[in-house]
């Protein structure tokens, strides 16, 4: 065991390696490790946020579905009401049309009947005159009997 100048050499090596570690080893590694720690923390926070957002979106989608169901029920009810209304209106219109057509037909029949009665009335007078002529077997003065015939026509 002898202490000599090797000690100085070793101290120089020691100082040199401390310098290397201080300048080229520890700071960059520490920086990388800190950056990684931060990234991991950020990633965890982001995933937490994502989970939360997913929950919110689930709630929102349930809301939307419920609202849509309500709306569709409402629309269905409205449509039914509307269909009922259209049906009722159509029925009303058909009834009115029916009444109108029937009324017109009745009026026509009435008119025809009146006209036929009128014609019959005319023909009855003529027939009566022709019958009377045949019965009497002689010429009847039409003019003389006109007044009588007129009265008869009135009576019919």
């Amino acid at each position: 065991m002898s202490i000599n100048a090797t000690l100085l050499g070793q101290a120089i090596w020691f100082a040199f390696f401390i310098w290397v570690t201080m300048k080229y080893v520890w700071p960059p590694l520490q920086k990388a490790m800190k950056a990684r720690q931060r990234e991991i923390a950020d990633g965890l926070a982001a995933s937490e946020r994502g989970k939360h957002e997913l929950e919110l979106a689930g709630k929102r989608s349930a809301d939307v579905v419920r609202e849509a169901k309500e709306r569709s029920g409402e629309i269905l009810a409205q449509t039914e009401k509307r269909a009922q209304k259209i049906l009722d209106e159509a029925r009303e219109a058909a009834k009115a049309e029916h009444a109108r057509i029937v009324g017109a037909a009745k009026a026509d029949i009435e008119l025809e009947a009146t006209r036929a009665r009128e014609q019959l009335r005319e023909r009855v007078a003529e027939l009566a005159v022709a019958g009377a002529t045949r019965i009497l077997q002689r010429e009847v003065d039409a003019a003389a009997h006109a007044e009588l015939l007129g009265r008869l026509r009135q009576e019919l």
Binding site: M1, S2, I3, N4, A5, T6, L7, L8, G9, Q10, A11, W13, F14, A15, F16, F17, I18, V20, T21, M22, Y24, V25, W26, P27, P28, L29, Q30, K31, A32, M33, A35, R36, R38, E39
Partner: protein
């Protein structure tokens, strides 16, 4: 495995002799300087390589390993050293990693590298740099000076002198306090250096003695090596931890 022509004591002292150049104080242990330097360059070069390519993306296996080891050291430092410092964590990292790899040279069977070296014409080679007290004292005295520097940096000259003269017995016993403080502070580097040196020297000695047993070294060398892994790690850790504690004591006010 005593080489032919060597007695047991010659074999042992051959293994414990450094490769040296120079005379007197200006002797240099080339093996200690070269092995520790090469290991340090390799290790810290590889770490700097990992750190240069480090990114916050998924780390590769080497980067992952370095990060794991360094953050382990860093958490120890954080637990012990409370002031803010750019120096203490790199200091702890350097001590732990460097001492660990130098101690780990012990696990290479004792004759491998010396025989290879003697084949290349180098006749003495002490492979484990931490069995050289020059290395352990070189490190511990460096730590001692950093300690003094931190005392002055955090307490100022006045605060430091006040602490030296008044702790622990108060101002009336200033000479006693000063004496205690000098002994205490001198004991730190000495104990730091001798603890590491003693453990590694003894461990290496046991390896050499086992190697002398011929064929019986096989069942003995393995258990000792396995046990030695513990000592290697523990001694590196203790050197690091005590240095951090000393730095922390230097930076804290009483």
């Amino acid at each position: 495995m005593a080489s032919g022509g060597l007695t047991t004591s010659e074999y042992i002292s051959h293994h414990l002799t450094n490769l040296r150049v120079g005379e007197g104080f200006w002797t240099l242990h080339l093996d200690t300087l070269i092995v520790s330097g090469a290991l340090g360059l390799l290790l810290f070069g590889a770490m700097a390589y990992a750190a240069r390519r480090a990114s916050s993306a998924v780390p590769g296996p080497w980067q992952n390993f370095v990060e794991m080891a360094l953050s382990l050291v860093d958490s120890q430092v954080r637990d012990t050293f409370h002031a803010r410092s750019e120096l203490v964590t790199p200091l702890a990292i350097t001590i732990f990693c460097w001492v660990f790899v130098m101690n780990a040279m012990d696990l290479i069977p004792v004759d491998f590298l010396p025989l290879a070296a003697s084949a290349a014409g180098v006749h003495n080679l002490k492979v484990v740099p931490t069995t050289d007290p020059n290395l352990t004292f070189g490190m511990s005295i460096s730590v001692f000076f950093m300690m003094i520097w931190y005392n002055l940096k955090y307490k100022g000259i006045g605060g430091f002198l006040h602490e030296v003269l008044t702790v622990p017995f108060g101002p009336w016993f200033a000479p006693v306090n000063l004496l205690f403080r000098v002994i205490e502070d001198l004991a730190k580097p000495v104990s730091l250096a001798l603890r590491l040196f003693g453990n590694m020297y003894a461990g290496e000695m046991v390896f050499i003695l086992i190697a002398l047993l011929g064929v019986w070294q096989l069942p003995l060398a393995l258990p000792w090596a396995l046990f030695h892994i513990l000592i290697i790690t523990l001694q590196a850790f203790i050197f690091m931890m005590l240095s951090v504690v000393y730095m922390s004591m230097a930076s804290e006010h009483h």
